[in-house]
């Protein structure tokens, strides 16, 4: 008689921004890969908000160079890129990911899911470094090359890095709070899984001297919109992101921080 072999299911809860996404897989090696990738963010006891079954395949069959595509079909989200295909139904709180055994595909799916959830709550993911000092968070925003990694690397010991690449901004009753994320940039170091109220957002520019200047709310809004990570094109959600950026600018001071890349820049950030 043929034996019925049921592969054991392993789960990895990944907590980002206080929200847990549970990843299920049959592959113990992949579990170790995820636990290693999400050190400090995996293993949360908080009940998961969403659960994803991860199916590992040797080839996804798409053009490996294909850009990410995010669309909503009858309240069910479909995400695809050259290296994965995922579906997600927020109502049933379940989803599935088909991908090869790498940590980057899951990372992309998590960013997309969080960006959509945050859009509905007045928050967003921002292309910025963030760090906590004296119980308050500062965000350092800019596109590649603006200095996010540099300013993260220059942080003195009393500064806790929340991320050097993607900041998690959640709206609270009074202001905004930044959460640490595992979404790392060139520093290749995950942030600390902690959060703090946001004191200021700095728009980074490299220059010969260190200085902080106020920026107009129009410029601040434009710069934030340029740096918000958002993958969906649904007009309603895009409008919400715009409203969130305007609200953020109305509540959080935004400055231009021109800096010379040495540790003295942190003397300006208290």
């Amino acid at each position: 008689m043929a034996q019925l072999i049921v592969p054991s299911i392993h789960t990895v809860p990944v907590e980002v921004g206080g929200m847990v996404v549970l990843l299920r897989t049959c592959d113990p090696d992949f579990v170790r890969m995820l636990e290693d990738r999400y050190t400090g963010f995996a293993g949360s006891p908080i009940p998961p908000a969403f659960e994803f079954d991860v199916e590992l395949v040797t080839s996804i069959g798409f053009d490996p160079e294909a850009d990410v595509e995010v669309r909503c079909e009858q309240r069910r989200w479909v995400f695809r890129r050259g290296d994965f295909y995922a579906e997600w139904d927020p109502r049933s709180r379940r989803g599935s990911i088909r991908q090869t055994a790498n940590p980057y595909s899951v990372d992309a799916v998590l960013r997309i899911v969080h960006s959509i959830v945050l859009a509905g709550e007045g928050g967003f993911l921002l292309h910025s470094a963030s760090a906590m000092r004296s119980g308050r968070a500062s965000l350092f925003s800019g596109l590649s090359g603006a200095g996010k990694t540099t300013i993260s690397r220059l942080a003195p010991p009393d500064v806790t890095l929340l991320t050097d690449e993607v900041s998690y901004v959640r709206r609270q009753e009074y202001g905004y709070r930044a959460f640490g994320t595992p979404f790392a940039g060139e520093l290749a170091r995950v942030g600390e899984n902690i959060c703090a109220p946001i004191a200021a957002l700095y728009l980074l520019e490299k220059g010969p001297t260190n200085r902080i200047e106020a920026v107009s709310i129009t410029e601040a809004t434009q710069r934030i919109m340029r740096n918000i990570l958002f993958f969906a094109e649904e007009p309603d959600l895009v409008r919400r992101i715009f409203d969130s950026a305007c609200e953020f600018v109305a509540r959080v001071p935004v400055y231009r921080l021109t800096f010379f890349p040495d540790e003295r820049v942190w003397e300006l950030i208290r």
Binding site: R75, S216, T218, T221, V238, R239
Partner: protein
Amino acid sequence: MKQKYIARSSAIAARKLGDEMIVMSALNSTLFTLNEVASVIWQAADGKTPLAEIVAGTVCREFDVTPEVAYQDAETLVNDLAGHGILLVSEQPIPAPVPQESR
């Protein structure tokens, strides 16, 4: 002269920030910044009031400009915004869009 009616596209989001208005196309996320005069015209674009009336009744009353110059500038502005798909321009009054069923 034929009348021109203008109405804001439904596929936009807009927010007044200080004296300026930021308008975003929800179709491609492009941002437009309108100065004080353009903001006044934008806010008056209800699809029912002719552009000439907006210029004479609002722009010329609030800003130090002659009706001729103001109308020329307003025409340039509305044609530009219409070209970006964020403003509708017609020789007839433009009915308000029917609210879409929310998903």
